[in-house]
Symmetry: C2
Subunit: 352 residues, 2 copies
DNA sequence: CTGAAAGCGCTAACAT
DNA sequence: ATGTTAGCGCTTTCAG
């Protein structure tokens, strides 16, 4: 392993000068700076991040903490794609990743302890937060970006997708296709779920449509739950003509569930998803959904974090754009659906 | 930050003794060992992994290198699920993860350099390998486990799913349902693809069925490719009655592609996938596929790696079990299909 | 069974 | 503009 001492010897100078020169300090003359850089390249010198970290310098490493809990595989796909996008953005900017995964929710305190031991320059969180976690996070001075939470602090920035706008776009799309009896699947007390549900309610009421509580389904975001919700909606005396799902996974489940009850998508019912997973363009039917622009968003996350690290930016709340993608799971309301909507008769179910 | 010196002071002993005691060396008397442990716990002492790494000791950290290339999102879902499983197994055993992701293939040489700088105890690879990569890897003395490759070395173990067996199970399942005209989608020169294709050929010929080359489709593993392959098969004068796909993503694409050509799954064509992604149980129809038993496999990977790290095991080649999961995308061949199979007439296509 | 000394590779403070 | 000294927290000789 080649160290700054080796370089120093070759350059007839001291380790300090080498260290300084390599970090392009202006305390070193241009000529020696160049010479040192050249020798370093020649020798294939690479700074030891451990040694750097030990003396408290920057390590060019950031910690990632996402909890992919097994039970709630729900969001995982979306998180995983997001994780990937952020990881890529970090790599592009020369940052290494120190990754924490865990099944259980980790107390933030433990986490910070562990992370500060590794002397990362900052961290990206994608975990659930308790109240005390928030308290601690707000005060921490480790530059932190958290995704999908509504919070900020001196060194804490949150980046969230604009879910309120997303669901509004979905509902308005359905409205524009003539649907009125629109169900919402995915109400929940989880923080990421709240804006979606509220947006649904408000957009509906702004359109002057009363909300039928039997069309609101409280559930987690995974496919199993969607399947169940789809069946439940399909069994209704008067099923919806359209469904807004709070996630793509839910939507896929819902389509399957509806089908089991003899309702076809989009023929009998239109369904919108949320996330635009890579897979959603290939489901049958391809999903009309809300794109989270993850690659963009990943860059935004990393840039915000680097801003925090360098001190060029303060903690902020960032909301990223989302975009409706129209595919095949939604269509203009049909006569039959309208009739069904009016009547109280049980819809004619066909077998698959 | 509490160090061994703090503990030493409290315990009226030296840092060395503390260091030794904390690692349960038998060079320390039982009484002092206990006292030191107690004080350490009380003070919330946590060893600094950087300092440990700097002196060349174990860091309880392993590197993960998976390349989720954007273009070949193909395998990503499968890899991501696998990644998750391994990460969890590592966490359960108290290992931290240092994560490398990159869009491009990384020259192994660079990688090892970078990784050894971080003094990880070992690494888990899930990347493509060039010949020179193999050369280097076989010689490296960093304990390494690589997934999905056929290679081993002194400190290098490979863990692969038994794909030959997997495809055999899929083909035999189709055979048992009366299918004979079975297509294979996903032939490719990629290492993970070879066994699957060969297994298909051999299982078919063992069943005495000649292979029709127009039923073999050479392609990558992603959904787009599947969609295309499905259309191509659907356009054939004499389409297959069943399709073996080399990945679930392919299968999902194929089902969609076939549908566009008026062929329904499983009514007109049976399709098997490969991977058993979480999502595959919820597609319509739910996929008959090969389960990779990833959680098991993740543990096998980590245990093999720990074996290498502790020197208790040598490099080996491990093949993990896979298991057929029968769902709704396959069914017994129908009269109509049989007729179609015999005739040369173009199949009657219906609209969706 | 325990301790003193040395050093891993680097950087920050304090000289020169 | 450059060099010297010291120390980050830990472990590994080597001596008692």
């Amino acid at each position: 392993m080649v160290t700054i001492y080796d370089i120093a010897k070759q350059a007839n100078t001291s380790a300090v000068t080498v260290s300084l020169a390599l970090r392009n300090s202006k305390r070193v003359s241009e000529s020696t700076r160049q010479k040192i850089h050249e020798i370093a390249r020649e020798y294939g010198y690479r700074p030891n991040p451990l040694a750097r970290g030990l003396v408290g310098a920057k390590t060019k490493t950031i910690a990632f903490v996402f909890n992919f809990s097994s039970n709630e595989l729900s969001h995982d796909l979306s998180y995983m794609e997001y994780f990937h996008a952020i990881a890529q953005a970090a790599a592009e900017r020369g940052y290494k990743i120190y990754f924490h995964s865990s099944t259980e929710a980790i107390p933030i305190e433990k986490l910070i302890e562990d992370i500060s031991l590794h002397r990362v320059d900052g961290m990206v969180l994608g975990t659930e937060l308790t109240d005390s976690d928030r308290e601690i996070l707000r005060k921490t001075d480790i530059p932190t970006v958290i995704v999908g939470r509504d919070i900020r602090g001196k060194k804490l920035t949150s980046v969230s997708t604009d879910d309120y706008d997303g669901i509004r776009q979905a509902v308005e799309h359905l409205l524009s296709l003539g649907h009125k009896r629109i169900a919402f699947v995915g109400k929940s007390s989880r923080e990421t779920a709240i804006a979606r549900y509220e947006s649904y309610r408000e957009t509906m009421s702004q359109a002057g449509i009363p909300i039928d509580d039997e069309l609101i389904i409280e559930t987690s975001y995974d496919m199993d739950a969607g399947e169940y919700a789809g069946r439940k909606l399909g069994e209704l005396e008067n099923p919806p003509t359209a469904v807004v799902a709070a996630s793509d996974l839910l939507a896929i489940g819902i389509i399957s569930g509806l089908k089991h009850k003899g309702l076809k998508v989009p023929d009998d019912v239109s369904v919108t998803g949320y996330d635009n997973l890579h897979i959603s363009q290939f489901t049958v039917p391809a999903l009309t959904t809300i794109d989270l622009l993850r690659m963009e968003s990943g860059k935004i996350v990393i840039d915000a974090l680097l801003g925090l690290i360098t001190g060029k930016r303060e903690g902020e709340k960032i909301r990223t754009e989302v975009k409706l993608i129209v595919r095949d799971s939604t269509r203009r309301i049909t006569r039959r659906e309208e009739r069904r909507e009016k009547s109280e008769e049980r819809g004619e179910k066909r077998e698959t």
